[in-house]
């Protein structure tokens, strides 16, 4: 059990976005979070990563309570995410984007930086090596010197993923990783995600492409109107009447 949500709720003024959701993510799995639009999936991601504070309930990662930590602290403990709208440091080159992520905002070492001590140089070299590895993994090494803002959409998404990997996170949270990709690109992406799992990463994702979700995920949690209505293996979820009801009821709005 890597990540555990216990009765997590989130209220925005009068609106209950997430209501007493409990969920566990097991290490080394690909875990899907699905549900019709407005079900609260993005909110759950924001709660896990500390972007939003929980109204009540608890979130534990590797046994430690993270629900009160700020996002940077949560990232340091091993959780990193992508965003639905691809967010990058647009003015930076591809390489700098990844370098920024691989430094993990380490704060100490001001004097060491100034004097460019050996310790500093060793760490810099390690960060650079990690950046190159990660760029190689998503096949963007050739684009290392290009401005991130100038990349085509699919490369921008690959870069987001590279940045997440550069943080060395154990739990990778992906918000609609397959959105806007062609069938072939989706296949490639799914292969890449399986490879990540094989390499020991845990993946939690939100996706609307049902075929991909069913084919990719080991476990699926289903939300509707902020409430968990089902959790289990793809086969069981597909047959679950409550799930079918939820999707039929809220006209599937796949773009």
């Amino acid at each position: 059990m890597l990540l555990e949500l216990r009765d997590v709720s989130k209220r925005f003024g009068g609106l209950q976005a997430v209501a007493a959701v409990s969920m566990t993510v097991t290490a080394g799995t690909i875990h899907g979070l699905i549900g019709p639009n407005g079900a609260g999936k993005s909110t759950v991601f924001n709660l896990i990563t500390g972007v939003l504070p929980v109204t009540s309930g608890e979130i534990r990662f590797k046994g430690e309570r993270i629900s009160t930590l700020r996002p940077s602290e949560i990232c340091r403990r091993g959780i990193a995410r992508t965003f639905q709208a691809t967010t990058l440091f647009r003015e930076f080159t591809v390489l700098d984007n990844v370098m920024a992520a691989s430094h993990l905002g380490a704060e100490r070492g001001f004097v060491r930086t100034l004097l460019a001590t050996a310790a500093y140089r060793v760490r810099e070299a390690a960060a650079l090596a990690r950046a190159r590895d990660v760029l190689g993994a998503v096949r963007l090494l050739d684009a290392a010197g290009l401005r991130a803002g100038a990349l085509p959409h699919r490369d921008q998404r690959a870069l987001s993923l590279a940045m997440v990997l550069a943080t060395g996170a154990d739990l990778v949270i992906l918000d609609e990783p397959l959105a806007g990709l062609t069938t072939q690109e989706s296949e490639d992406a799914m292969k890449a995600l399986r490879a990540l799992r094989a390499g020991g990463k845990t993946i939690l994702l939100v996706e609307h492409d049902m075929r991909a979700v069913m084919g990719l995920c080991d476990v699926i949690t289903v939300l509707d109107h902020g409430v968990r209505i089902a959790e289990g293996m793809p086969r069981d979820i597909q047959a679950n009447p409550a799930v079918i009801e939820a999707y039929l009821g809220a006209e599937d709005t796949r773009a």
Partner: protein, 338 residues
């Protein structure tokens, strides 16, 4: 550009600054020219330190206030407490940096245009304090006068005094180069990288492990320190301090020089300050027309070069090299527009 290449950038740029700085007194001993050069260096220190703060996205209007705090602190330490200039020189900027901690913390509680407002409020409040309070110490509306120049330095072959324009220039040059070295070094390290990341996407940076408020405060305080260094020099070269030296007008000019040059690069303020210093000398005679021209130039540059003048060569290069990748990376195909 790969990090290794960027460090060379830093060395080359610093080398150019060093060379230009040393060349000036070799080319001229004219009092007026040396004075202009000295003031330009002082402004450069101010804009480069301001730019370091702004590289994290903080539009800090109180930057000159820290210059003022150090200036008054140094003046008082020397005239009232009998300190040597050389003792006050490291201490006064530290005091300014210390003062920057609470100010920075409060300002960080709000964002965007409101951060600007709060820092502007600090600017005005501190200026009013300099102008109207502790008159016995700060001099009130008539200013603080009779501040001695830097004390003579004993060196082999006699002491060096700092009353001549030439000596002051050298002092400022040394202070500037030392400060610029630190700022440039930081810029091409992970600090500079993270600062730029924060400016382009705070939330993204935070979720990638950057404690954004802590970094921003750090940049704010460091900027204040270097503004303080400029302030100490200012106090002992102008030898008179007046609250208007640390008010809205000088601050707004600094921001203009910095942003026009470009906040995204450590060389931005260099370009901006030099361009405007030259323009100022050329337009000196035109009074109101000068201001009109400045205003138009500012508007045009910011509208057409939102990244500042320093981005100009890059833009031109991209324009000519459409579709071609940079820095040795291979071509990725016609689908890529710059």
């Amino acid at each position: 550009m790969p990090p290794e290449l960027r460090r060379v950038d830093g060395w080359i740029g610093f080398g150019l600054l060093l060379a230009a700085g040393v060349a000036v007194p070799l080319l001229t001993h004219d009092s007026y020219h040396l004075d202009v050069a000295t003031v330009t260096l002082r402004n450069l220190l101010l804009t480069m330190s301001l730019r370091y703060v702004m590289s994290t996205g903080q539009l800090n209007m109180a930057h000159v206030s820290f210059m003022g705090i150090a200036a008054y602190a140094s003046a008082l330490l020397v005239t009232r407490a009998g300190w040597s200039f050389w003792a006050a020189l490291p201490v006064a900027p530290l005091l300014a940096a210390l003062a920057a901690v609470p100010v920075g913390r409060v300002a960080l509680r709000v964002s965007g245009p409101y951060y600007f407002l709060i820092s502007f409020a600090f600017l005005e409040v501190l200026r009013l304090v300099f102008n109207n309070f502790f008159v016995d110490y700060l001099g009130g509306p008539s200013g603080l006068v009779e501040i001695p120049p830097a004390h003579p330095l004993p060196l082999t072959g006699g002491a060096v005094t700092f009353t001549s324009k030439l000596a002051q220039y050298w002092l400022m040059l040394v202070l500037f180069l030392a400060s610029a070295a630190v700022l440039i070094r930081l810029e091409f390290s992970r600090f500079g990288l993270v600062n730029g990341a924060i400016r382009q996407g705070e939330l993204l940076a935070e979720t990638l492990g950057v404690n954004v408020p802590r970094y921003k405060l750090g940049a704010f305080v460091l900027g204040a320190f270097f503004a303080g260094v400029a302030g100490v020099f200012f106090a002992h070269s102008q030898r008179v301090l007046h609250s208007s030296d640390f008010g809205l007008e000088p601050m707004v000019l600094l921001v203009a020089f910095t942003v026009m040059g470009g906040v995204g690069s450590v060389w931005g303020p260099v370009v901006g300050t030099l361009v405007l210093a030259v323009a100022s000398e050329l337009l000196r005679e035109l009074h109101h027309y000068e201001i009109l021209v400045y205003g138009l130039v500012l508007m045009v540059v910011m509208l057409f070069f939102p990244d500042g003048l320093v981005a100009l060569p890059g833009r031109v290069a991209r324009w000519f090299g459409r579709g071609r990748a940079k820095d040795g990376a291979s071509t990725l195909g016609a689908g890529l527009a710059p």
